[in-house]
């Protein structure tokens, strides 16, 4: 379980996140909405422990343990993982190698890559000269290899072409154990463990396309440094689509 209490985060000299409270239980997937620049990425970076995103107040707990001050890699080893919106290019490091690093050695990179249509890019340098959609798939591939318990997705479907959007959507759903039917050719042990859904997810989305592929439990809107509403993600998305963020927030705060 992920528990965030009264989190305050300073970014670039500005208190961007003023008071964040959030709870994600095992098996739950939450959706994070919010206008551009509202701090969605910053929230994920702070959860993951990136030092530029300075926690000025509050607490983050994961699986009953306080992780607020832990370095990034210790959080990763406790089971937090993230798919980045704009990952850096890693010269001299091949995608195959980073996949092996993510999995700490024990992985069949080719068969994982096949799942996400990345097989032909395994020998390329990580993110070097990749298109927007390819970068998203590369991020998913690494996260699959890492196999964390809490998966943070930063706009996994942005920039992905129509051909691959279903693939990305279904893969995210599969990683979060939210797929309706088990995927074809999936190894039995994984299917077994799936009966007991344990993975937690937090997905940032602009378009909401991802909601066509998985059943999310809750939606949040990040506005003015706070998560100001909690509700059914589809309803929130519909509301934002119709009225825009400000109007939508007024409505939701009024009724909620």
């Amino acid at each position: 379980m992920l528990v965030i209490e009264g989190l305050q985060v300073e970014v670039g000299g500005r208190m961007l996140l003023k008071r964040i409270d959030l709870e994600i239980k095992p098996g739950e997937t939450h959706i994070l909405f919010g206008p551009n620049g509202s701090g969605k990425t910053s929230l994920l970076m702070a959860i993951m422990g990136f030092p530029n995103y300075m926690v000025r107040g509050g607490h983050i707990y994961f699986m009953g343990r306080e992780i607020t001050g832990l370095p990034i890699h210790e959080r990763a080893r406790l089971g937090l993982g993230m798919s980045f919106q704009r990952p850096p290019t890693m010269h001299g490091l091949k995608t195959r190698q980073i996949v092996e690093l993510c999995a700490r050695g024990k992985v069949d990179a080719a068969s994982l890559a096949r799942r996400i249509n990345m097989e032909h890019l395994l020998e390329r340098e990580v993110n070097a000269g990749l298109s927007g959609g390819e970068i998203k798939r590369s991020e998913l591939l690494q996260l699959m290899a890492q196999d964390p318990d809490l998966l943070l997705f930063d706009e996994p479907e942005s920039g992905v072409d129509l051909e691959n959007i279903a693939l990305v959507g279904k893969t995210v759903a599969w990683m979060l154990q939210k797929d309706v039917e088990p995927a074809q050719g999936e190894p039995p042990p994984l299917r077994e463990s799936r009966r007991q859904r344990t993975k937690m997810g937090l997905i940032i989305t602009h378009t909401g396309h991802i909601l066509n592929y998985l059943e999310a439990d809750r939606g949040h809107v990040l506005f003015d440094g706070q998560l100001c509403c909690l509700g059914n993600p589809r309803e929130i998305l519909g509301c934002i689509g119709r009225f825009g963020y400000e109007e939508c927030l007024r409505c939701l705060t009024a009724t909620g």
Partner: protein
């Protein structure tokens, strides 16, 4: 004709002439002679002490001869072994060749000036030995010829002169490993190498240097490439070295010829390294590439590169990247000179530290900071050389990985 007396006279006159670049070494501090050692058979080579063979292996020289077409071994001042298993590829100790092969006068000291500085002069006056490697016209060898220049005697100045000739239409690969025994603390290695790549020939030369903290090294090398020829020079020096200065030069003398210089360097806190690469493109359609990667670790590294374009339709690129880790200084000096219309030359140089963003990214994948840094450094040092045979690329990668494992 070989005029040794004339060369000697010029050398004598240059014996006190400092080099244009690099620290000025006092050659009187070094011994010029060592007791001669007997020749060894191939099987005797395999029974040399394990520690010595291990040092050679780290420098890319495998005395078992696996995947090699021949072996040359110089220890201190004596040639211990010299043999080729490949038809069409000859290897001969240079001192012997100078006595028996009159035509060598057309090659010996023809690309490097004997009176360039005190090091070239000294290499002529107190020549110990070196190798002549020659690929006969049209011959093709996949497996490289290996040459090891080994230093065992404390305080010795080892003077080596090598000549490599790839005759018309031939393909030749050479691995040259220069290293020292584990006992040795310091000495001086002066290595003159002249490369001749004839019409349509292909020569790759991969040089791996593994020195010790107190070694001084003065490579003096030059190449001449004829029409449609290809010369690839790879240089790896990742172990500590006190003082290293060299500025290998390739002259592209025939239309459509190509030269590539790749160097991978790491300095220790005591290192003073000044290494360059220069290509003169004299004919239309010539191509050149100079790539250098260097890491300082408290020492000082000067990475120079120069491209001189003298004909239309030439294309050349210079890339120089440096990382500063744990202090020190890294200087990148790229120079471009165009002397004709329609030359296309470019350079990129970057000096910096490892991007924190990249470290964090790998840490988010579960690597601790140290693992992340060494992964990035390995990637930085990994250079893929276009056209390099996979076997040699593997050898290059192995040299980089092996030294990283020991030092990081």
């Amino acid at each position: 004709m070989l005029d040794r007396d004339g060369l000697r006279a010029r050398a004598l006159a240059a014996l006190d002439k400092p080099a244009k670049l690099g620290a000025d070494l006092d050659l009187n501090r070094y011994e010029k002679a060592s007791p001669p050692r007997p020749m060894l058979s191939a099987s005797e080579l395999r029974s040399l002490p394990t520690a010595d063979r291990q040092r050679m292996l780290l420098a890319g020289v495998d005395l078992n001869g696996r995947d090699r077409c021949g072996t040359y071994l110089l220890v201190d001042t004596s040639v211990l072994h010299c043999s080729s298993q490949q038809e069409g590829v000859e290897v001969t100790p240079l001192t012997g060749a100078l006595e028996s092969l009159a035509w060598l006068g057309d090659y010996y000291w023809k690309l490097v000036e004997v009176d360039a500085d005190k090091y070239t002069a000294s290499a002529e006056l107190d020549l110990h030995d070196g190798f002549l490697i020659r690929a006969l016209p049209g011959s093709r060898s996949i497996h490289p010829m290996q040459a090891c220049l080994y230093l065992d005697r404390e305080g010795l100045q080892q003077n080596v002169h090598n000549i490599v000739i790839a005759e018309e239409g031939s393909e030749l690969h050479v691995i040259s490993g220069c290293t020292t025994s584990t006992r040795l603390r310091g000495g001086l290695h002066v290595g003159v190498t002249e490369f001749f790549v004839k019409k349509g020939a292909k020569l790759t030369f991969t040089m791996i240097h593994n020195w010790t903290e107190d070694m001084a090294v003065r490579p003096r090398s030059a190449a001449r490439v004829e029409e449609s020829g290809l010369f690839v020079s790879n240089y790896v020096c990742l172990k500590p070295v006190r003082s290293l200065q060299g500025y290998p030069t390739a002259c592209l003398a025939g239309p459509g010829s190509v030269a590539r210089f790749y160097s991978i360097l790491a300095g220790s806190p005591v290192s003073d390294i000044d290494l360059g690469g220069r290509v003169v493109l004299e004919e239309p359609g010539c191509r050149a590439e100079i790539v250098s990667r260097a890491i300082t670790n408290g020492g000082r590294i000067m990475a120079r590169g120069q491209l001189i374009g003298k004909a239309t339709g030439i294309k050349a690129h210079l890339e120089c990247r440096g990382l500063i880790m744990g202090g020190g200084a890294m200087l990148a000096v790229p120079e471009l000179e165009g002397h004709a219309d329609g030359v296309e030359m470019s350079h990129e140089a970057a000096v910096g530290k490892i991007a924190q963003e990249e470290i964090n990214y790998l840490m988010a994948r579960g690597l601790d900071e140290e693992e992340a840094v060494s992964t990035i450094v390995r990637g930085f040092l990994k250079v893929e050389v276009p056209g390099l045979h996979p076997l040699l690329q593997a050898e290059l990668d192995r040299a980089v990985t092996a030294t990283q494992e020991k030092s990081m």
